[in-house]
């Protein structure tokens, strides 16, 4: 039993840290989202097609994309600039906000074409 205790601690820590990464507050995100709407649209559906729709996107994908702009894994002059001052909590909140908006026009692919 005593030998298993460190394992229990490790498992609990892992569970808690993955929960902490997932948590985001949509209300807090809304307060941060004003600059985003200039390009991505008030409802996350931009009018200029060079910017991606955020409305209807998976929350955790939005979070990963923003983290990558922050840490330089994904490069874009505009987005890196906006993400630099953001904390991981800010990014989680923004992701929760944009994923919570109604009226999304994004979907997964369906009906693959027949192989040639």
């Amino acid at each position: 039993m005593n030998r298993l205790f460190p394992l229990f601690v490790l498992a609990t820590t892992l569970a808690v840290s993955s929960l902490a990464q997932a948590a985001g507050n949509a209300e807090a995100g809304k307060a941060l989202a004003a600059p985003c709407t200039a390009c991505h649209g008030a409802d996350g559906n931009p009018t200029d097609p060079q910017y991606p729709r955020l409305n209807g996107q998976y929350r955790d994908y939005l979070q990963e994309a923003m983290l990558q702009y922050k840490n330089g894994k994904r490069k874009n002059a505009i987005m890196s600039g906006f993400m630099q001052p953001m904390t991981e909590q800010n990014i989680a909140d923004l992701s929760a906000y944009f994923a919570s908006l109604p009226g999304g026009k994004l979907g997964d692919l369906s009906h693959p074409p027949a192989a040639k």
Partner: protein, 107 residues
């Protein structure tokens, strides 16, 4: 007067042609070229592993953004091993075709 009007209309026509040429993807060709994409983007709720997150929804995404994203995987501005490999196998025409097809979907 006539000459400047002619020049203006020429410029306008050229600008219009340039804009439409930009979105030159062929949707039907793109539909066939998205065969591979379905392996991940066609499975609802499918997740990337390490780190763990949903593979993005790309049906209905904007044309120009899709083109830029695919080119980003080609050049390494975006780092994702699977998408990098996909991107490297695509020509500029393939990318435009795929983007035109995906952008035209209304889920």
């Amino acid at each position: 007067m006539t000459r400047s009007l002619l020049l203006a209309s020429l410029l306008a026509t050229a600008a219009f042609a340039a804009t439409t040429a930009h979105a030159a993807g062929d949707k039907e060709a793109g539909r066939l070229k998205t065969y591979t994409c379905h392996g991940c983007h066609g499975v609802t709720g499918y997740k990337n592993a390490y780190p763990n997150y949903h593979v993005p929804r790309i049906a209905g995404q904007n044309f120009e953004y899709l083109v830029a994203a695919l080119k980003g995987y080609q050049t390494g501005d975006r780092s994702h091993p699977t998408m990098r490999a996909q991107g490297e196998s695509l020509s500029a025409q393939d990318i435009e075709d795929i983007a035109a097809y995906l952008a035209g979907l209304t889920p």
